[in-house]
């Protein structure tokens, strides 16, 4: 039964609010493990949903679900160490909403009905808002306010877009169910003008949640103010969930023969995001904000690849999977850096290679991976997208893309070098250097999750299991992508 996958974390999430602290920590990891098993079962024998009108197992949904499940399990292990080190006042609220967040994101991956997808994506906003406000500071309050307001208004636009889709059904005389799987076969009969309008609103709406420029303004604030395990979830999987909404709508556009129109829009938003990230990443003074801008860049790359089509879509899906794995490991490592130096500013860190050797390995490998160095998957994904861009004649897009990648790499590398090898600035406002190491220990639970994430990304480059490969091909085939 498909619905069990998101009902389970919902129930345990409610339980976590009332259980004692230690028990709810264990419940977090336990639910993560159960969720992973349930997701793998879905892969094995993709069953029919009980409410087949609203939920369905689709290839793109399966991919995102597996990423969510694996990430959540590893992050939950890290969270135990994190919570032990932090002694949050409202820990039960944190664990409870982590589980509810998992439940809503799972619902996104499994929904097939257009409106149910919207409900699920809006629910992810609501379930993650309390996570951002965990530290109860003025800055985190501001980040939460921006996040809830900008994302709610943005997603309201997506609801309007979904309504336009129903209008295009009405004008086209289509009586199929209001679900993605039912609309794709009859997409040709939909009214093209309103379908286009609907697509624009949906891209703006879900694009806000995905972090596409110029609607990205909430993202750096939310990612930097949230506790690191929550940032890892936000960046690693929440953004993918929003992308899934755009991906599914694009499927209808391609089926209706409007792939040129939808492709152009996605390319423009993608390039805007990549350029915006390149502009802002150069002058970042905080490492978590820097990682957040790198997420905006990667979401831009994914939108660009999807827009270009063909091999580009395959590249986009590869980028999506590897970005989730690598970026969540980077955010977890940034949690360690924050615990070690007690400071968000890059200027007050330094010499991490000596002080936190284990975190250094994870952070530096993650940096290499996210910048697109060859042994990691992002390299392959970006290469495919560039190849596809040249093949389809998007020369200008390819040039802007490659140039921005260089700028981002330069900016990122300078900051990472400062964190890892630079000498801390003794400006007086940072903690003095001999205080730093004593309170923080790199316990296995705080470094192994990152290693496993990076290792998974590394292994997936050289060896993709057949079932996974077939699912990726099925997913990209539906929007005209493939390995040609």
């Amino acid at each position: 039964m498909v619905e069990l996958v998101f009902v389970t974390p919902f129930v345990t999430g409610l339980l976590a609010f009332v259980l004692p602290k230690t028990l709810s920590r264990q419940l977090l990891v336990f639910t993560g493990a159960v969720h992973l098993v349930l997701s793998l079962l879905l892969w094995k024998n993709s069953p029919r949903a009980f409410f087949a009108e609203y939920f369905a197992v689709t290839p793109e949904g399966l991919l995102s679900l597996l990423v969510i499940s694996l990430l959540f399990f590893l992050i939950s292990i890290y969270t135990i160490g994190y919570l032990k080190a932090h002694q949050l006042k409202s820990e039960n609220i944190f664990t409870g909403f982590m589980l509810l967040f998992l439940s809503t994101m799972t619902m996104v991956t499994l929904s097939d009905h257009i409106m149910v997808l919207w409900i699920a994506i809006e629910a992810t906003t609501l379930a993650s808002a309390p996570l951002i406000y965990t530290h109860r500071s003025g800055a985190s309050l501001e980040a939460t306010w921006k996040y809830v307001l900008i994302c709610s208004v943005g997603i309201a636009m997506a609801l309007l877009g979904s309504l336009f889709l129903t209008l295009s059904m009405e004008l086209g005389g289509v009586t199929a169910a209001l679900s993605f799987s039912a609309l794709s076969p009859v997409a040709g009969q939909l009214d093209p003008a309103w379908l286009k309008a609907g697509f624009i609103f949906i891209v703006v709406g879900y694009g806000t949640k995905m972090g596409l420029a110029p609607m990205h303004t909430w993202l750096p604030d939310a990612h930097s103010e949230a506790p690191s395990p929550a940032s890892a979830l936000l960046s690693g999987v929440l953004l993918n969930c929003a992308y899934l909404g755009i991906f599914k709508t694009n499927k209808i556009m391609v089926a209706a023969g409007l792939s040129d129109f939808s492709g152009t829009i996605l390319i423009v938003f993608g390039l805007l995001s990549i350029v915006a990230a390149a502009t802002y990443i150069l002058k970042q003074t905080e490492y978590k904000r820097m990682l957040a801008y790198s997420s905006i860049e990667n979401m831009g790359i994914i939108a660009l690849g999807t827009g270009i089509g063909g091999l580009g879509v395959y590249g986009a899906v590869i980028c999506m999977i590897h970005h989730s794995l690598i970026k969540s490991s980077l955010f977890l490592s940034s949690g360690n850096i924050l615990m070690g130096y007690k400071d968000r500013l890059i200027a007050n860190t330094g010499q991490m290679a000596k002080k936190m050797p284990k975190t250094f390995v994870a952070f530096f490998a993650g940096f290499a991976g996210i910048s697109g160095f060859p042994p990691f998957g992002i390299f392959i994904g970006e290469l495919f997208i560039i190849m596809a861009a040249f093949k389809t004649g998007h020369y200008l897009a390819a040039v802007i893309f490659i140039f921005s990648l260089c700028v981002i790499f330069a900016g990122f590398a300078r900051q990472v070098m400062a964190i890892c090898f630079g000498t801390p600035a003794d400006t007086g406002d940072g903690p003095s250097s001999d205080l730093k190491d004593e309170t923080f220990k790199e316990t296995p639970g705080l470094v192994w999750p990152q290693y496993v994430l990076l290792l998974t990304s590394l292994i997936l480059c050289f060896f993709i299991p057949d079932a996974l490969y077939q699912t990726i091909v099925d997913a990209v085939h539906a929007i005209g992508g493939g390995l040609q």
Partner: protein, 214 residues
């Protein structure tokens, strides 16, 4: 006969927009919003020919949530914190009113060019929906008071609901109810954040929320 009723109700909605643009006090704004919520949610009673039991129950639930629970929760939020009551406009009241009128006229002109079959019998339905959407956005951008911004968001949502009722191909009521619950939960969370903003900064002026930027 019923058609005139619908247009009369919709003209009330348009009036509520202008009232909202002219109000300088938060409590007055909340009252306008409650009135608007009630009017918007009873419109399906007049445009749907024969409603089933499910539709009636759903419309009543909408009425209770949009007309009573949402305004009440905002009212309680400001009562608890005794917020400064001026809405701190970025665009002045007279300019706002003028913009509101211009937006309504523009919406009426635009909707004449859109070819939408199911709404052709009511002249004001689509213009009212578009006006609510755009004016909600306007309030969000043109007021610094956080409560006024939340009210702008609710007006935007009312507009989307009105747009939804104009199309005949509609989702099932259970789905519509899910959407409504999401909106309700969203407003509740915003109300909680409002209280926290007030406690932390001793005001709800969003110009205080400027520490996070590049």
């Amino acid at each position: 006969m019923t058609l005139y009723t619908v247009d009369t109700l919709l003209s009330l909605v348009l009036l509520s927009v202008l009232f909202a643009f002219g109000s300088s006090r938060v409590p007055a704004l909340i009252k306008v919003m409650a009135f608007q919520g009630i009017v918007v949610s009873i419109i399906p009673f007049f445009i749907t020919p024969d409603m089933g039991t499910g539709a009636v129950i759903f419309t009543l639930a909408t009425l209770v949530i949009r007309g009573v629970i949402i305004p009440l929760s905002l009212h309680l939020a400001i009562k608890k914190v005794a917020v400064q009551r001026d809405v701190a406009p970025i665009v002045g009241y007279h300019a706002s009113l003028f913009c509101g009128l211009a937006l309504i006229v523009a919406a009426a002109v635009i909707s004449r060019y859109l070819n939408i079959p199911s709404i052709s019998d009511s002249a004001l339905l689509f213009p009212a929906a578009i006006s609510l959407l755009v004016t909600g956005m306007f309030l969000l951008m043109a007021r610094r008071n956080a409560i006024a911004m939340v009210i702008g968001y609710i007006m935007l949502e009312n507009g989307i609901y009105l747009t939804g009722t104009t199309f005949s191909t509609q989702a099932r009521h259970i789905v519509e109810f899910g959407i409504l619950l999401d909106v309700l939960a969203g407003v509740m969370i915003m109300a909680i954040i409002l209280q926290n903003i007030k406690q932390t900064f001793d005001d709800v002026d969003t110009s205080l929320l400027r520490t996070l930027k590049e």
